[in-house]
Symmetry: D2
């Protein structure tokens, strides 16, 4: 089994790929769209990309590729990883020798406080990824440090000069596993979807949320995103508890389908936190079945055409 992932090797994403599909052969690709495209076209059966960081928020490039790109890719799993940033240097470099700190801009931002206290005079330089920064440090002269994960340090033979230098504890990144089909229901599932609002219709957002709430389907995430046309036109990205195969989720989705300009289901998949959705009695599959039977009997009491 091959898994395409956002490379290079030595990033948090490569670690997530290993955890999502243990034993799989990893295939690092240059960009998020490349990974999504490889899965969409069948060149890779599975793919893994970051989708959300507990501090930075959503990875817009992933969201937009899944939400607004061509269809044919489904989220079929998720993995969350704690993110620990370390100050990585060539062996022998000491803190007072560091003149430059390089990393992906988000990583620089997450360590701003620590850098201000310990390396106030060092120049911050942007890199395209934490792994690229590590590689550049390895190729440099010892006055440059990188901010990145342990795996990047190992990959490029660097020393860890300071551990856990991020300003906020509990930093976590969520990655999604992509394929061409959704996973089967497990009872502890999540569904991701995108609702497109054709016109700026007040009340439509509330209705969409209401459709889920009335059926006891909890939303775990909601976010409005521009649809690339002009400021003010939004799509709503929603994560909800449950699987498209659950009756309550299915009815909510069909209701939203009737009202939205477009509805795209990005996938149903087992939750990383394993939280089981136990619906109220009235929202269970069994209650939906009984109601359907009752209604069929009711229709039998209508006059038939002669």
């Amino acid at each position: 089994m091959r898994v395409a992932y956002l490379g290079p090797d030595g990033t948090f994403t490569s670690e997530a790929a290993r955890r999502a599909v243990p034993g799989a052969e990893g295939e690092p690709l240059a960009t998020i769209p490349d990974v999504v495209e490889a899965v969409r076209t069948g060149r890779a059966p599975l793919g893994i990309v970051p989708i959300e960081n507990s501090i930075e928020g959503s990875v817009n490039l992933t969201l937009d590729e899944l939400a607004f790109g061509p269809v044919g890719v489904s989220i079929r799993g998720e993995v969350t990883l704690p993110i620990a940033m370390h100050l990585l240097v060539r062996h022998g470099t000491t803190l007072d020798a560091v003149r430059v700190v390089r990393s992906q801009p988000h990583a620089l931002a997450q360590c701003r406080g620590w850098l201000g206290r310990h390396l106030p005079a060092a120049e911050r330089q942007a890199a395209t990824s934490t792994a690229a920064a590590a590689r550049e440090v390895a190729a440099g002269d010892g006055s440059v440090a990188a901010l990145g994960p342990a795996v990047a340090g190992e990959r490029y033979g660097l020393a860890v000069l300071a551990r856990d230098v991020q300003d906020h504890g509990g930093n976590t990144t969520r990655f999604v596993l992509l394929g061409t089909a959704m996973a089967m229901p497990t009872g502890a599932d999540k569904t991701s979807l995108v609702v497109f609002f054709g016109e700026d219709r007040p009340g439509l957002l509330l209705r969409v949320l209401d459709e889920f709430a009335l059926r006891g389907v909890n939303l775990t995430k909601i976010e409005s995103r521009p649809t690339k046309q002009s400021l003010g036109e939004y799509a709503i990205l929603i994560d909800c508890a449950g699987h498209v195969c659950d009756a309550r989720v299915g009815e909510a989705l069909r209701s939203v389908h009737r009202h939205a300009a477009e509805l795209r289901v990005l996938g149903s998949y087992p939750r990383a936190d394993g939280l089981v959705s136990v619906p109220a009695a009235a929202d269970s599959d069994e209650a939906y079945r009984r109601a359907a039977d009752w209604y069929a009997d009711l229709l039998a009491a209508v006059d038939s055409p002669p």
Copy 2:
């Protein structure tokens, strides 16, 4: 075709029966429960009973018989009649000779103002129906007047001493046509139902109303009724626009079914006012069909068990 109705002959109900099923043979019965029972047991294929007056409100006996009595009867039509009350006397009687006014207590109440102005000294006496009052006047000595419809005066050979003596204009009574099956949808339909609340659950009433509102189904009447157990336990009687065969009504009913202790549909039938229900695009049968097709396609993208 025979139509059982609340007799005696000469009441507004007998007139409603004639209008509901022109040319039918009318069969007057003594009480509302007798009419309902005759239809339920098949002794009469159709029945007609009053259900609501624009001034007095619901006819509780009819509501309770349909809502809480044995099942097996459906409302399959409705008729509304303007109610004009006249002062009926034996020929030759003049206003100053009237010492007693008899009628069904509701009729007496509806003419209270007129009686206060024109016959302040006359004794009011209760009768079991307006027709019974007219019959008793015909059998009396000329000092008694009845309040009742023109048809009662004709039936018992009385003179109309004063016309339209009711205090409020626009008095109308609604009658329902009963059978054992519901009528087919016409596009201008109404559905009557009863929702039972098992326990005093705050929020359940609101949910029930919400289920209809979210699907664009208008309610034309709502009324809480005691369920004959103890003060404070209620059922809700609802009339809504549309037919049980309409997709939006069907889904609303199934949702209510999942949440209520019990749900009884009293019938779907053509509205007396002929008002056509034109759903919004998102609430049309076509929108429900498209959503069902979309969902079937979606489920096809879920992994199958190996």
Copy 3:
């Protein structure tokens, strides 16, 4: 202290008046409107009328007088009485001598089953009240029986031939105490109100219920009533938990006031069942006070006109 009530003496209402204001001097009046009018004009400081029976439903005459009559009367208390119907006869009369049963039509209806089993051949005759029926039995020849409360039998010297002959157990009537001011809050209060719908606006009913639900105010009763204009135009009568002085009730009422054609508060008063309303923390008077303080601070951060 005088209490006007719906007479004559010997009815359930006279018993309710004694319980509502112990030691008061009762003043029986002929009709419900007479009682309401006496309070409104100040001729009687207090009044008591029946408003709802657990089997028959609302007493429309009372509702309409309070909801649609002139303003100036408030409900300031309520009393509930168990209703037990007895078969009352002249001393010495036996069951097989009874040829006629007289009572108020509702009372006849409530004992229909018993009468069908024990007096199938007796003629049913309408009376204007249970007390009037008892008086007529006392003045009659022994072949007539009355259905009524024990107090009516005592008042007119009749014997009880059969006890508790009503078809349904748990029959209870609710009476309201009228005055010109509302009662002070006790913590276990109820508020009665009437919402007028100017036009047939779909969604307005739902909004009204929502305004209460969102603030955690439970509705104990809801009923649509014709407004005496034409079939289909309704007012909604609502009983809710809480007092107009409670912040959550006050805000709900003001919101309804903004949307309804008219809003009439019939009164706030201690509940007969003594059930204390304990609001959620967010709905407490204290939460409203804190929110008001917070908002005042917020407004202070707006630029002032130069």
Copy 4:
């Protein structure tokens, strides 16, 4: 008047600062938190920072600084600018001489398609801003190009080798003007706020949206953001039409205040699009005033303590 802004000079933000406060003296600062801090501490009376791009979405650093940083700063205005990206080079450089393209990573991402078609072999290098990239091009050897706005090219004396190279038309950025007080109401206002959810309470999000919807307050933007504790704990950032001084907005805010763990208003300010909020009659300040008067009269009809 001085305006602190996210520098360096030559960025879109410097242009926005000129438009927001014409004639003001601009003071470029190194980071978004620096600008916010300068306003908060009073070192600069006004500040301007980017908050949202039509393609990239929210500027998380700005949102987090305003939403989760110390209080004391208000949004008091907004400006939107169309974003046009140009390929900037030293005079004389031709397209086939370009070996490296530098820019802020978001700018690189927005031009990915164009670069793929016209400079597939050029290396992409990250810079900390579009202006920094332009400065570095000016200091380089002619084989490096920058992606940036026209103003950056002018600032550093570069030539525009290709115009409007962004992949999507209609790219716009929204900037907010910061101060220590909110702007006065103009009738065409917007309010930005942050609602904190103390625990993962299902239904709270829906309630918050409902509080606005019920009062006819339209939401123009909604976004959930992690609160820096752990993945899954969110705050909701909302932009709504109207001003905190509007009665309907004020009541909605007080209601949210009662239910949320915390509520922070970021500011009320004139909308860049000038769209006037015309409330329905029931949601107008006048309707709120009338309801308050009515309620005051109502309370006067409650018994006073003796």
